[in-house]
Amino acid sequence: MASTIRVRATSSGETTEVQALIQHPMDSGFVKDAKGEIIPPHFIQQLTFEYDGKNVFTADWGGGVSKDPYVKFVFKGAKKGDELKISWVDNKGATDTTTAKIQ
């Protein structure tokens, strides 16, 4: 299966800008479907970005984050060609992981 995570990490010398887009329904558990039944909560709880064995960014999410979530941040210390590891876990225990090369 193709990865649910799409990442673009761009180095501009000292800093690296990371943009991530993840495919996930992010159901909050407050929305009803067409039949009037509540759609059970199903959302990513934690998303981590690891560089050189260390967490450079951790997101704790609730059901209030939009469907197919997007996040952007900037960190220091990485170079072009280095690898960034991204993983998430949702409230049902599902996970996905990918690595991205810094461009």
Partner: protein, 162 residues
């Protein structure tokens, strides 16, 4: 004899348990600190259950935030679609360790909380859902203190099935 042996062991175990309990209670103020430190990689379940933003901030940080003009939030005046509201924040505060996003009118106030280790810039952009027109609150933890910024975002179509 076995009885005595058993009870002696039991007493030892109980004493050990008592000592551990005492250690835990020894510092009522520090009682929270290990929990918060452990929360560094643990998902803050309770904070994501709190209905109000005040309760969520308390559950997350154990203290209250003061408004600061050093916290700059970029949010639309009007969001046509409450399901996708782009919000970003940046700050000139030093030693930022965490940034959180809250929507007061949402059924669960806390939307997202980001941990910012040293070496990562205090600047985050994301997209959130808003049930209806509401105040959006951004909380920045810097140097162990909490700072916040507030902005009302008008929502034309709610994003929580409302």
């Amino acid at each position: 004899m076995t009885d005595v042996g058993f009870s002696a062991t039991r007493r030892l175990i109980l004493q050990g348990a008592g000592a551990v309990a005492l250690l835990g209670l020894g510092h009522p103020l520090f009682g929270l600190t290990p929990a918060l430190a452990a929360a560094n990689d643990k998902y803050p379940e309770a904070a994501f259950k709190a209905k109000s933003e005040a309760d969520a901030i308390k559950a997350l940080y154990g203290k209250t935030a003061e408004p600061s003009d050093k916290v700059k939030m970029d949010a639309p005046e009007i969001a046509e679609n409450g399901a996708v509201v782009p919000i970003s924040v940046t700050t000139t505060l030093a030693d930022v360790t965490s940034i959180s996003f809250l929507v007061s009118e949402n059924p669960v106030a806390l939307v997202a909380s980001y941990k910012i280790p040293a070496g990562t810039l205090p600047s985050v952009a994301n997209r959130i859902k808003m049930a209806r027109t509401s105040n959006v609150i951004v909380v920045v933890e810097a140097g162990g203190k909490l700072y916040s910024a507030n902005k009302e975002v008008k929502v034309t179509v709610g994003g929580c099935g409302g």
